[in-house]
């Protein structure tokens, strides 16, 4: 029994709110043993994050906690729930520590990285400051920060997201705790960066025999890292078992539904094929940037609704021009879905803005329905842009909170009318109802406000608004990235059905290769503003011509633990062949 580092027994957490008590966790039991990785999975509101915060006693003051959360401190087990705050300070960081989701905000912006790591040491050990600083540098080195001596004197904003997360991990490791709680440690990161962080966590757990309580919604991450899985729903653990059993032969229907909703990543074997071809000496293929022209079906004579010709896009940052997209060629035909994929900073959203006429290209042309957006002025421009609908990432932020849903949807109708004439109020109401029906929202939704809807519903409202004018082109910029998988599946199904029915061309911008794989006909891969590769989605994903695409694909974890092991091996092989990731 001395192996147990965390034992949660009958934990209940309730929040006092203005509208009464809201239960978040309802009587869960969980045990984590030394050196084991236990994943706590579930969707938003399942209680997984609340559980993780209760392990270190970090719940807000409005939380009412009962039951016990015991941490192993030496030979003793100490109950976090009944321990007063002054003594918890001694446990936090020393016995158990935590890694958080948002590396961009998890570090103090006004304190050097070295000081922030050293503080963790100084909190628990009586060592001279200089020694703590040295330890900090060593810790930064051990989590793979290059030039740790120099980095220690830098501030968080001088590092990338992935590196900041490494620093947060270094802080968590500082006192060699027996348990690390990681709450969505890679959710905010790009897939290739995520793969690196997961490698690091796996290595650290193995090296120090540390236990890891991994809180995540990403089944691929679970498959990659976990030994055991506990599935949470509605504040309860509905299923708990070894990772192979839970992911491959789930017993509970909720787990099955959750796994079904995960978009299928491109199969692992195909990645190996792509990797094999690279390994077989096709050195020329590795020259990223020399992209082949977009492959189109030879007999495709559908109208081209969007045509980007040699488009370069620039931003002005403090008087300097920064090129975000360089010489990009893309076409979207009517009735077609083109996936535009890439990591953060690849320029994919910038390209999307150009397609909406929000950003004028510095070189090249953006043609909508054969007309240049940049050259159209006044009424002609407005009429042209009426043929483009857009759905943004944040379903909360893109709807006016003080406006009824019906008014938001009707706004494009009020501005543009239809066929050059204004619509009567009755016609508008009819069209709004039609649209709400199309995105499967109940009657009466138009008379409610956005905050009364869930994230997935709001995104469907956004979709209804985007389609109000029957656009010929829909630009969807990460439309489901802020949503849970089951909700994402719902929204994507609505999008897919409407696309089939209405036949608009769709530029689907996403970092999620699984979603793009499931949804799109053709795909274009962007990296640092340049087109790496494009072609039919099935072909690009099964036999990528470019090394970068192959690495990107191999970095996506699949929710099958056995397949994921192969994938990881393939990715590491790929990295060994001279990938620059």
């Amino acid at each position: 029994m001395s192996d147990v580092v965390l034992r949660i027994a009958d934990l209940n957490v309730t929040f006092d709110t203005d509208s009464g008590e809201v239960p978040a966790v309802r009587g869960i039991d969980l045990e984590v043993r030394r050196g084991r990785v236990v994943a706590l999975v579930g969707e938003s509101g399942s209680g997984k994050s609340v559980t993780s915060l209760s392990v270190l006693g970090l719940l807000p003051a409005t939380a009412r906690v009962s039951g016990s959360v015991e941490l192993a401190d030496g030979e003793a087990l100490r109950d976090v729930v009944s321990t007063p705050e002054e003594q918890l300070v001694d446990l936090r960081g020393r016995v158990a520590s935590m890694v958080f989701q948002e590396p961009m905000t998890a570090l103090n912006p006004t304190m050097t990285l070295g000081d922030q790591v050293a503080e963790a040491v100084l909190n628990h050990e009586r060592v001279p400051r200089a020694l703590a600083r040295e330890r900090a540098v060593e810790l930064l080195r051990s989590v793979g920060i290059p030039e740790p001596e120099r980095r220690a004197g830098q501030y968080p904003h001088e590092l990338s997201g992935g590196q900041r997360q490494r620093v947060v991990i270094a802080v968590a490791l500082a006192c060699e705790p027996r348990l690390i709680v990681a709450d969505e440690p890679t959710t905010a990161l790009d897939v290739t960066v995520q793969a690196g962080i997961l490698d690091l966590l796996r290595e650290l757990v193995a090296q120090h025999d540390t236990a890891l309580l991994l809180v995540t919604h990403n089944m691929g991450v679970v498959a990659d890292l976990a030994d055991e899985v506990a599935v949470m729903s509605g504040g309860r653990i509905v299923e708990h078992g070894p990772v192979e059993q839970v992911l491959l032969a789930p017993a509970h229907e909720y787990t099955r539904a959750l796994l079904d909703a995960v978009p299928a990543a491109p199969p692992a074997s195909t990645v190996s094929v792509g990797a094999g071809s690279v390994g077989a000496g096709s050195v020329g293929a590795a020259s990223v940037g020399a992209a082949a022209p977009p492959a189109e079906g030879p007999g495709d004579d559908r109208e081209i609704v969007l045509d980007l010709r040699g488009v370069s896009l620039e931003y002005r940052v403090q008087g300097r021009h920064v090129r975000a997209v360089e010489n990009l060629d893309l076409t979207v035909r009517a009735g077609e879905m083109l996936g535009l994929v890439g990591e953060s900073g690849s320029g994919k959203s910038t390209a999307g803005r150009a397609c909406l006429g929000l950003l004028a290209p510095s070189e090249g042309e953006v043609l909508l329905l054969g007309t240049s957006v940049a050259r159209a002025r006044g009424r002609a421009r407005r009429r042209l842009l009426a043929d483009v609908g857009v759905v943004f990432q944040d379903p909360g932020g893109s709807l006016d909170p003080r406006r009824l849903v019906g008014e938001s949807i009707a706004e494009p109708l009020a501005i543009h009318g239809r066929d050059g004439r204004r619509l009567s109020p009755a016609e508008k109401r009819a069209r709004v109802r039609e649209l709400l029906d199309a995105v499967r929202l109940p009657a009466g939704a138009e008379r409610r406000y956005p905050h009364e809807f869930s994230g997935g519903q709001r995104q469907r409202i956004g979709l209804a608004r985007a389609l109000a004018l029957r656009p010929r082109l829909l630009v969807a910029d990460e439309p489901t990235s802020a949503l849970d998988v089951s909700v994402q599946a719902e929204v994507l199904q609505v999008l897919r059905d409407l696309h089939a029915e209405l036949g608009f061309g769709c530029l689907f911008i996403s970092h999620d290769l699984g979603v793009v794989h499931e949804l799109t006909d053709r795909v274009a891969v962007l990296r640092s503003g340049r087109l790496v590769e494009s072609g039919a989605t099935a072909e690009v994903f099964s036999a990528p011509r470019e090394l970068y695409t192959a690495e990107l694909l191999a970095s996506v974890p699949t929710p099958d633990p056995v397949a994921q092991r192969e994938r990881r091996a393939a990715r590491l092989r790929l990295a060994g062949t001279g990938g620059d990731l």
């Binding site: 300070v89 935590m98 905000t105 006004t110 503080e119 501030y155 500082a174």
Partner: protein, 345 residues
Amino acid sequence: MTTAIPARSGAVEAGAAAPAPVRAARGGFGRFLIRRVLQALAVILVVSVIVFALLHALPGGPARGVLGQQATPEQIAAFEAANGLDQPVVLQYLSFLGRSLTGDLGESYLLNQSVSDAIALRLPKTLLLTGLSLVVAVLVAVPAGIYQAVRRNRAVDYWLSTLAIVAYSTPTFFLGMLLILLLSQNAGLFPAAAPQGTGIAEVLAQPAGLVLPVLTGAVPIVATFSRYMRSSTLDNLGEDYVRTARAKGTAYRRVVLRHVLRNSLTPVVAMLGYYLPVMFGGALVVEQLFNYPGMGLLFWSAAQSSDFPELLGCVLVISVATVVGSLLADLLQALLDPRTRGGLR
């Protein structure tokens, strides 16, 4: 709560942490400074043109203002000839500009002394009074704001908030009279008049006389700044980095003093920059109430009597202070927050 320690330790940290990045960008920093000073000069020049033009647009002009309604046209013509007011406006302005570059702001029409002498006499007194008020205000407001944020929505927070609103909405002259009544007339603790005398040394020799004027000046600033500090601290207490600091076992008190304080000071420091012109412009009501002839009274009397050179001199001083104040605020902010140093390059 110890008031001085947090602020001081924050400053020391900033000093210790700053060198590396700032040194890296030193060439850029020099350029930034030069650019800002040139900007400042341009602003001051534009302000002087506007003020000059406005004063000349006054009905009757300065001569009527100085000589009064009964003055004959001959008297006015003589006055204008004597003071160069019969010259074209552009020439007048250019000669004013040329003289002021050498520090000569002209002769006051009324005070029988040069404008620069009049300002040199009053500016130090005003700086002393408003400077002390500001220091006292910051020393009270920063800890009070933090304390309120940490104890948010408890009784002490509500009481301090109420007090701040009352203090903020009380007119300064009423507050000053109240303080005189309570602390001087009734309790007899402090004199009701500010220290008299022409030099700053004489003023400093009577510190008890400064208490009520400084308090009267400080109370409204405390009210404003503590509100800012409270909301800024509250924002920062909700930040992710606070959770990270707590998760590594940092005691709450230390989280507040070492992590939150410095981050919360940034907006307050920005406000401080805007208070510099107030310090130079003087607090008219306080000066009047406590009979303390500073810049505020000088400005007021110059405006009342159309003392043209005096007015120009005062406006010039205040515009310089405004520009320098925003420059200082930028620099202090860069010292506190390494992220803003990028903007200095």
